[in-house]
């Protein structure tokens, strides 16, 4: 932590009639190092309502519900009078962006302090008017009271005076045991709008005179337009214009259907780029080869892999994880109006500041001339941290000056031309002594780093501190090893690679947790007991915490989660006939601990598009630190489980630089009869001082828990995703 405590709350816009505090958000315990610049505002209006204005995108994870809960608690306001307003980027709102499951983590502390500061200032204002000491006043549900005289002011009546008070150095925050809002289950704010069809997503933006566009892009990665003939496209009823943009050719029409029909009628000659020979089968071989030797070392315990020479025998396994797409049900889209000296963007983005910069660059406009309105997202999952769709839409609108244009990606576009979760290969090696005790451990990961923003340089891919940050789930393995070495090898691919729910973790955790299960089988140990041993449950010499990179891994929190699941799932009882149990756990790099126990049976005769098994029971324990809204936690666990189920059935494969899949029929995601009836969630550690985030961590250990059960049912280890019927047939 920085030694000089920097300012992160300041009175803004004094004299506006409202009490406005500028707030600076940053990760808990880390203070901003530069000068004060707010990235959120807390405004208490003369009518007593409170507004949090910030740049966190609602994408189903519930920030519009949890953040008001935090503020209401500390402000002592009626929760129903606090709301969130989506901020647009500008000089006052730098660094907006929603990703990495950090929304609650980064806002918790500043928001609490803002609430407490505002409350203290309102109390001071009331005390001044009554000419009493602030200590003799108290607050209650949006009002300051003076109990001994029975006097009372609503917050709204005090805001103008409160704005003239100085911001207290360290306002007293609520005693957490007295919390009445934080930690209680609250319903999602926009639930009623959704069931009435009134929630407006990016794709629902409608502006007067607006047109619709779709873009024809190079079928293979990196190709370019040589020439095109739009004669037939322009004959399609409703087509208004055909425009050339960097990535291809856009058809602009009166409605989306006409734009699609126009695009079908385009004739385009493409020149293939270097990506046109890319094939995912060949790539898989390359990845596997890259694990034959160790990559860059990102963690070394004891002697590292040198200790392997003391092993009497080794267990070695290679795990494969495929390319995967996001496939959120709302495809990406963006609406843009370009005028002579200004531009307005309506985007379902997770990264509005980047969108603003792209518009400024394409249109040569200053930041003050570009307004970005962040829309509700029909699922984010990391896809909307990319700005490819905004960039295209800005180019289209530039060619259509004066007319708002919505550029929509069809589902086919979305699956073929977006960015992907990278395929990866993991080679795990365990060295055992003659008594089957672990003496050395290796985890080598080979994969493609994110390349959608700026492809990494050779210096970066050789730098341990840099690549460690790309290897969640490998370097931060919570287990203690007598000796271990974790390595990472970067392998190039022409496919766009970028964030996907839980980012670098799912593949690493899949491989690691399945391999631990193999290890348990080899050593004839119970997989939960073996894990607890490796987490130090029976060995006081194993440190209960350790630091690696920027992370703190707390083994005792991991153990508690593991033990909770084992107990609640009655792990040691045999599975019912025809079923097997599976277990896995993980600490996500934000400090969230999750474990699953599942019960699975095989399902025969399923078509290829369906999972060849049924998950009957899911028991989850989660420690995500302080819980703001337990209802939200349960939702995120269910969501993570079902997301991971899709991961067990679908992949994107490439041939000749083209994705073979193009819609839900060939990239099938989990549907109702494949999902468990109930997901049993046990929240532990909720008494912690700060929250750790939950949108992503629940995904990672579910996949290996299921695969571990399936491996037992099939009588052979499954080391590759997706899981097909042939993988689980024992004959």
């Amino acid at each position: 932590m920085s030694t000089t405590r920097r300012e992160f709350i300041r009175v803004m816009a004094a004299g506006s009639g409202a009490l406005v505090l500028g707030v600076r958000f940053c990760r808990a315990g880390r203070f901003p190092t530069e000068d004060f610049r707010p990235n959120a505002w807390v405004r208490i209006e003369p009518d007593g309502t409170a507004v949090i204005q910030l740049g966190k995108t609602e994408m189903g994870q519930g920030v519009q519900t949890s953040l008001p809960m935090i503020l209401a608690e500390e402000l002592d306001a009626d929760y129903t009078t606090v709301r969130v307003e989506q901020a647009s980027p500008g000089p006052d709102f730098l660094e907006l962006g929603t990703g990495g499951s950090t929304s609650v983590m980064t806002t918790w502390e500043p928001l609490r302090h803002a609430g407490a500061a505002a409350r203290a200032m309102l109390v001071a204002a009331a005390a001044e008017r009554w000419e009493v000491s602030p200590d003799s006043c108290r607050t209650s549900q949006g009002a300051v009271e003076h109990p001994s005289t029975g006097r009372r002011f609503g917050y709204g009546e005090l805001v103008a005076d409160a704005a003239r008070q100085s911001v207290p150095e360290s306002p007293p925050t609520e005693d957490r045991s007295r919390n009445t809002i934080v930690g209680t289950a609250r319903k999602r704010r926009n639930a009623a709008d959704i069931v009435r069809g009134r929630a407006i997503y990016g794709i629902d933006v409608r502006q007067p005179g607006m047109l619709y566009a779709v873009v024809a892009r190079s079928p293979a990665f990196g190709g370019e337009v040589v020439s095109f003939d739009d004669t037939r496209a322009k004959q399609v009823r409703g087509v208004r214009e055909v425009v050339r943009i960097t990535r291809g050719v856009a058809v602009v029409a009166e409605h989306t259907a006409a734009a699609i029909k126009g695009r079908d009628a385009l004739r385009i000659e493409w020149k293939d780029g270097p990506g046109a020979s890319f094939d995912s089968d060949t790539h898989r071989v390359t990845l596997e080869q890259a694990t034959e030797t160790p990559g860059v070392t990102i963690r070394k315990d004891g002697e590292g892999r040198a200790a392997m020479k003391r092993a009497a025998q080794t267990l070695e396994a290679v795990y494969h994880y495929p390319f995967v797409a996001h496939a959120s049900v709302e495809p990406v889209n963006c609406t843009v109006l370009v005028e002579d000296d200004r531009c307005e963007v309506w985007s379902p983005t997770q990264t509005p500041n980047t969108v603003q910069r792209v518009a400024m660059a394409v249109l040569q406009l200053p930041d003050t001339a570009v307004r970005v309105n962040v829309q509700l997202l029909g699922g984010g999952f990391g896809r909307r941290l990319n700005y490819d769709f905004d960039w295209e839409a800005i180019e289209v609108a530039k060619a259509m000056k004066g007319t708002p244009v919505q550029t929509v990606w069809t589902r086919e576009d979305d699956l073929r031309f977006g960015h992907f979760q990278a395929a990866s290969t993991h080679r795990l090696i365990a060295g055992l002594d003659t008594a089957n005790r672990l003496v050395a451990f290796e985890h080598r990961k080979a994969t493609t780093p994110h390349n959608i923003y700026r492809p990494p340089t050779p210096e970066q891919t050789a730098d341990p501190d840099t690549v460690r940050g790309w290897a969640w789930g490998v370097y931060d393995s919570p287990y203690a090893f007598p000796a271990a070495e974790m390595t990472y090898a970067a392998v190039d691919a022409p496919t766009p690679i970028g964030p996907w729910r839980a980012v670098f973790s799912p593949s690493s955790v899949f491989a690691r947790e399945c391999f631990i299960d193999e290890l348990a089988q080899t050593c004839d140990r119970d997989p939960v007991e073996l894990r607890l041993d490796m987490l130090g449950a029976n060995d006081a010499s194993i440190p209960s915490t350790f630091e690696i990179g920027e992370d703190l891994v707390e083994r005792q929190r991991m153990r508690r989660v593991v033990e909770t699941v084992a107990r609640e799932a009655r792990w040691s009882d045999p599975a019912p006939a025809g079923r097997a149990k599976g277990f896995a756990c993980n600490v996500f790099h934000t400090g969230t601990y999750v474990a699953y126990a599942v019960e699975v049976s095989l399902r025969q005769g399923q078509p290829l598009s369906k999972l060849p098994f049924t998950v009957h029971r899911v028991v989850c324990a989660v420690d995500c630190g302080l819980v703001i809204n337990p209802a939200g936690v349960r939702q995120q666990v269910e969501s993570g489980v079902i997301w991971a189920l899709s991961n067990l059935k679908s992949e994107i494969t490439f041939h000749a630089g083209r994705a073979r899949q193009s819609n839900y029929s060939d990239f099938p995601v989990a549907v109702m009869d494949e999902t468990p009836l109930e997901v049993e969630t046990h929240i532990v550690g909720a008494e912690a001082a700060a929250p750790n985030g939950l949108g992503e961590p629940t995904v990672c250990p579910f996949t290996p828990a299921v695969v571990n059960a399936l491996s037992r049912l099939a009588g052979k280890r499954i080391r590759s995703l997706p899981v097909r019927a042939a993988d689980v047939s024992s004959r």
């Binding site: 189903g60 029909k261 997202l377 269910e638």
Partner: protein, 156 residues
């Protein structure tokens, strides 16, 4: 060029578009009712579900010419249907929605199911909803909401 008459939420519209224009885009882009969602355009996600009379249909798989003269209800007009409220409040009570994008399709499909079968079995629920996709994973809550809606409709 001729125009085609369709009725949406009780309102008559004359639509100027090609006969093969999917009803989905007519509703969303021409009539401006955006509650009906696009998810796949191939009939596999259910986001575009609307009611024709009381039957759920995929508006992305229905051409304007097939829709001529017919009467449709979208999520915006859903509240007018008897029993709609039981579904909508069950959805809110069980906190089904996450991003919410897919939910209009589920709601209309479920309402029609409860109309045919006031107390559907788990099996029937699965069969009916298997071609609806929710990427946020709200299926367990949808099951619960269906049970709640069924009991509050009292088997009517």
């Amino acid at each position: 060029m001729s125009s085609t008459e369709i009725i949406v939420n009780g309102v008559h519209h004359l639509v100027d578009a090609d006969d093969d224009t999917p009803l989905l885009w007519v509703i969303r882009d021409i009539l401006g009712l955006t509650g009906t969602k696009y998810g796949c355009g191939e009939g596999s996600c259910g986001a575009c579900t609307v009611l024709e009379a009381d039957e759920p249909v995929r508006s992305c798989q229905t051409n304007l010419s097939e829709a001529a003269g017919l009467s449709y209800t979208t999520i915006e007009g859903f509240a007018e249907k008897p029993g709609a409220d039981a579904c909508q409040s069950a959805w809110v009570e069980e906190e089904v929605s996450q991003c919410g994008y897919c939910q209009a399709g589920f709601l209309l499909e479920v309402w029609a199911l409860l109309g045919r079968k006031p107390e559907p079995t788990d099996d029937l629920v699965e069969k009916t909803l298997n071609d609806h996709i929710c990427r946020c994973g709200t299926y367990p809550r949808i099951r619960r909401a269906i049970r709640r809606a069924a009991s509050s409709r009292g088997g009517k």
